[in-house]
């Protein structure tokens, strides 16, 4: 099943077909070839395996209620992860995205409680989220501060701002009633549908648009992209703005879904899982190569793992242990596979 899905998506393999191997184990070999050629292959295989495992262990795994829980967990990881793909393809990273996700509902709340109509308050919050991205981008590009450090700075700045401005107290998120609430977060499938829409948007942007090609080019070889006349700095800044915007958007949806906001939540806890999703999905940290599809599958896998461990009655915190083990295994596999791929090309 995994194999069929992969070869259907495999448009035209870049490698010339090796001569047929007679008398050798055909299945492991073709699986290996697949894993080398398609960067998403590893995570697809592991995901399918985990679905089979958990569905055998717990009959409630396939229940609608459980699937809703799962997709609500997956939605923000998928979207922020797709945003991180834009960063990683540029050989940058945004650690503040999780904090933007947490801060934008507070922006909304502050303006709303100050008398601004809810719709307008949300619009302002989204603009402010995008502005955080702009700050990240300009510091990285203009002042040449590594994005890891810049976004660590904005992460802590806005974490502190929220703590102080909220007076360390939880608040109720407005907009949780009626059709508005249903569309923007409360409806069972609301966040995942918005998530799929935003992720698809990022996929089209990265893989189908001129802007995306310029982004990949800038991450692949910055000087060459500049020599070809691509405005590499502007491309980078826009990517920082886009990830901040989508993170802020998902943050508002999730706060409406949950109904309240806790100022003590840390954006760092939130941003790391999407980065893991992107990385185990097959996106390289070195720039120039990225897969949004792999990130989506990576997010689904993490969602299945988190939920699956829960329903088979494993203590919740084991999730972190397994997440750690999976990072190590997946990354080691990816490094080995790309070395193998490089060898096969020569």
């Amino acid at each position: 099943m995994a194999q069929a899905a992969v070869s259907a998506g495999d448009r035209s393999p870049a490698l010339p077909a090796p001569p047929p191997q007679v008398g050798r184990g055909a299945t492991p070999l073709s699986l290996l070839k697949l894993a080398v050629q398609r960067r998403e292959a590893t995570v697809i295989i592991v995901t399918v395996g985990s679905v089979i495992y958990f569905s055998l262990r717990a009959s409630s795994f396939y229940s609608v209620a459980n699937i809703i829980v799962m997709v609500q967990y997956i939605a923000p990881i998928m979207v922020i992860g797709a945003g991180e793909v834009l960063m990683l393809v540029l050989a940058e990273i945004d650690l503040s995205a999780g904090q933007v996700y947490l801060t934008s509902p507070w922006f909304t709340y502050w303006f709303w409680s100050g008398g601004v109509p809810l719709g307008l308050a949300i619009a302002i919050a989204l603009v402010l989220s995008a502005l955080i991205g702009l700050i990240n981008g300009l510091f990285t590009v203009r002042l040449r501060v590594p994005s890891l450090i810049v976004t660590l700075g904005t992460l802590y700045a806005f974490f502190g701002l929220v703590l102080v401005k909220s007076n360390y107290t939880q608040e109720q998120m407005p907009g949780t009633t009626g059709d508005f609430g249903k569309i923007f977060g409360i409806g069972s499938w609301s966040t995942i549908l918005w998530g799929l829409l935003l992720t698809a948007g990022i996929w089209v942007l990265l893989k189908r648009s001129r802007f995306g090609l310029h982004t990949t080019a800038s991450g692949g070889n910055l000087l060459a992209a500049a020599e070809a006349g691509i405005p590499v700095w502007r491309v980078k800044v826009w990517c920082f703005v886009i990830i901040a915007f989508v993170s802020g958007y998902m943050g508002i949806l999730d706060s409406i879904r949950i109904g309240s906001m806790n100022p003590g939540n840390s954006g760092l806890d939130i941003v790391l899982t999407p980065i893991v999703a992107a990385v185990i999905g097959g996106t390289a940290l070195t720039g120039g190569r990225a897969t949004v599809l792999g990130t989506v599958i990576g997010a689904i896998f993490l969602g299945i793992l988190e939920d699956g461990l829960n329903i088979i009655g494993v203590q919740a915190s084991w999730f972190y242990f397994f997440e750690g083990v999976i990072i190590l295994v997946a990354m080691a596999a990816n490094v080995q596979l790309s070395q193998l791929a490089a060898k096969l090309r020569r």
Binding site: F211, L213, H214, T216, N221, A224, E227, A228
Partner: protein, 256 residues
């Protein structure tokens, strides 16, 4: 095209100190000079990638100000950079169309990959460049194939002035013959060219005129017909000897 009194410095390093250079229509001009003499910097200024500290550039007797590579392209100036300016992770056709993509849906600028592939195949066939697969990543190609793609990219859009920074570097005999033929073909079609190369045999075979650049200035301007490889070699070697001698004297003073 004409460049007058072009100067450029990078921090404390003076790359160009008042270069004057002209390129007649349909002419092939060769630039000769040691590493670090300023040849590549000059090319990067003429193509709009770098801005000169002083001096002016004229195209067809009109002064022009290039703020980007795009501005220069608008005048039909195309470049093959020394580093080729290819993106290793992108495919052959994506590189060929980089920053000149064929798109649809107007402002959304979605890529028309099918059209780019077809145009790329057609164009590479026209100029007889052989690439195994348009879908292969440039990373997987040989040095010569990469060079051919870089040249093909620069010539695809009816360039009037072509700047070639070491177009034959790191190429086998067969591959450089192919590029030489490509360059001659373009020259016959009336494209003006500036070629940087360290191999005098290549330059004498390709160029109408030669300029020697030494320490950021054009020191010799001669028609190819009026000089010889021996004369040019002697000129460069004697300059090198002078520098060597000056260096030894300076060293002598320090140790004394």
């Amino acid at each position: 095209m004409r460049a007058e009194n072009i100067s450029k410095r990078f921090g404390a390093v003076v790359a160009l100190r008042g270069v004057d250079l002209h390129l007649n229509r349909g002419e092939v001009l060769g630039l000769v000079g040691d590493n670090g003499a300023g040849k590549s910097t000059l090319v990067k200024i003429l193509c709009g990638f770098l801005r000169p500290d002083s001096g002016r550039i004229l195209v067809e007797n009109q002064e022009v100000h290039f703020h980007s590579v795009k501005d220069a392209r608008a005048y039909g100036i195309e470049t093959v950079y020394q580093d080729l300016a290819l993106i290793p992770q992108l495919t052959v056709y994506e590189n060929l169309f980089l920053n000149r993509e064929v798109t649809f849906l107007g402002r959304l600028a979605l890529l028309s990959r099918r059209r780019m592939r077809a145009l790329a195949r057609q164009y590479l066939e026209d100029i007889k460049v052989n690439v195994p697969d348009l879908e292969s990543e440039v990373e997987m190609l040989s040095g010569g194939q990469r060079q051919a793609i870089a040249v093909a990219r620069a010539t695809r859009q009816n360039a009037k002035i072509l700047l070639l920074d070491e177009p034959l570097a790191a190429m086998g005999a067969k591959e450089s013959a192919l590029i030489m033929e490509l360059v001659r073909d373009l020259s016959a079609r009336g494209v003006s060219m500036i070629v940087i190369d360290h191999n005098y045999a290549h330059l004498f075979a390709l160029c109408d005129r030669l300029n020697v650049i030494q320490q950021g200035k054009v020191t010799v301007n001669t028609r190819v017909a009026d000089t010889s490889i021996e004369e040019l070699t002697e000129l460069m070697v004697s300059a090198f000897r002078r520098q060597l001698q000056a260096g030894q004297e300076a060293l002598g003073e320090i140790s004394a």
